[in-house]
Symmetry: C2
Subunit: 208 residues, 2 copies
């Protein structure tokens, strides 16, 4: 968060802020220019057009999220600490960058065609992911269960509350402080919840 030196960085910083909060359609090039403290024409000098600027921001943001995801899930940690690690990191990161996840999901809805290829370009290694989780579920907990569902469950429990934050906050009339505390609590609650759920399968021979 240093004060950016060159114009390109100033633009990217500004673009990131505005795109994250307002999405592609909600963003005005003029607003980015103002925030970067430069002329609007200069935006188009550094980045051909709105699309390419957005693409740059999206790539960067997406990579930032998935790289940590890869790092954690492909590591050699045991499954449960791994999940704990993951949940900790994401609740922390995401609750300090509240718009990021919404931004990602939003982008998928606003511009699905263009963005599929972007996702493909950054190799997320989803098969490796699932295979690793499957193996760990089997070896460490003795569960032969579809790893995709478990993985999605983990993602859901960690990410959903942050996406739905404004909704939850309105519905349950939670103050900002209470909301921050809520997320803090989840760092402990979610891993416990998942761990309990996984242990619970042991009794029944629930092969899905």
């Amino acid at each position: 968060m240093e004060s950016p030196q060159n114009t390109e960085e100033k633009i990217l910083d500004a673009a990131r802020q505005v795109f994250h909060q307002k999405g592609f359609n909600g963003t005005r090039m003029q607003e980015i220019a103002n925030l970067a403290g430069i002329n609007k024409a200069l935006l188009h000098y550094y980045f051909r057009n709105k699309e390419s600027l957005f693409e740059k921001v999206f790539n960067e943001t997406f990579a930032r999220i998935t790289s940590k995801m890869k790092e954690i899930f492909l590591s050699d940690m045991a499954l449960l600490p791994k999940i704990e690690n993951f949940v900790h990191f994401y609740i922390h990161f995401i609750s300090h960058h509240s718009y990021v996840v919404h931004f990602i999901i939003n982008a998928m809805y606003e511009k699905p065609e263009q963005l599929r290829e972007i996702i493909v370009k950054q190799n997320i290694l989803p098969e490796l992911f699932l295979e690793k989780i499957r193996k760990q579920l089997k070896d460490e907990i003795g569960l032969e269960i579809d790893p995709l569902h478990i993985y999605v469950n983990i993602l859901a429990l960690a990410i959903f509350p942050v996406v739905a934050k404004p909704l939850l906050q309105s519905i349950f009339s939670l103050s900002d402080d209470r909301m921050a505390q809520f997320f803090e609590e989840r760092k402990q609650i979610v891993p416990t919840f998942i761990s309990n759920a996984l242990q619970g399968y042991e009794k029944s021979t629930n092969v899905v």
Copy 2:
């Protein structure tokens, strides 16, 4: 899904479709008019402006989701069947109206100020909700635990995959058929997962 009779319904049907898919900013009045097969000026004859048309659609959509939520959670069913019921209904409903949840969440980000009051206007009775869940957790499972977290967990597991559908589908290269199957499986997997998790608390005296 009958062919709508009067113009007002035609407009609302069209508006719903477009707003759901493209959100407030992404929607063009002209597109709604085209889809409804009428002149654009007629939109403003029936609905003052874009805002009020959007508000109407949002209210309607939001009520449709929350009313069923109220019905299920405030009923006299036992907690676990209640959860099962809820998950079934929502995965079914939402996966057949994929844009709805994204639409709701999106609206909260795009127009948070105006929409808080709308949410307040429809009385969702969140305290009743939580109190009922808290009591059932205690009486039926013997758990003294923050019902908000449990409730959010349930929501997360049911709703998140649908919101993130385009993302998941891209990342894991799932066909539409595989995706439909995936959601079908979740109707069983999610209640089991939750049930396991809740039963798991019994052993430890995990009071949060």
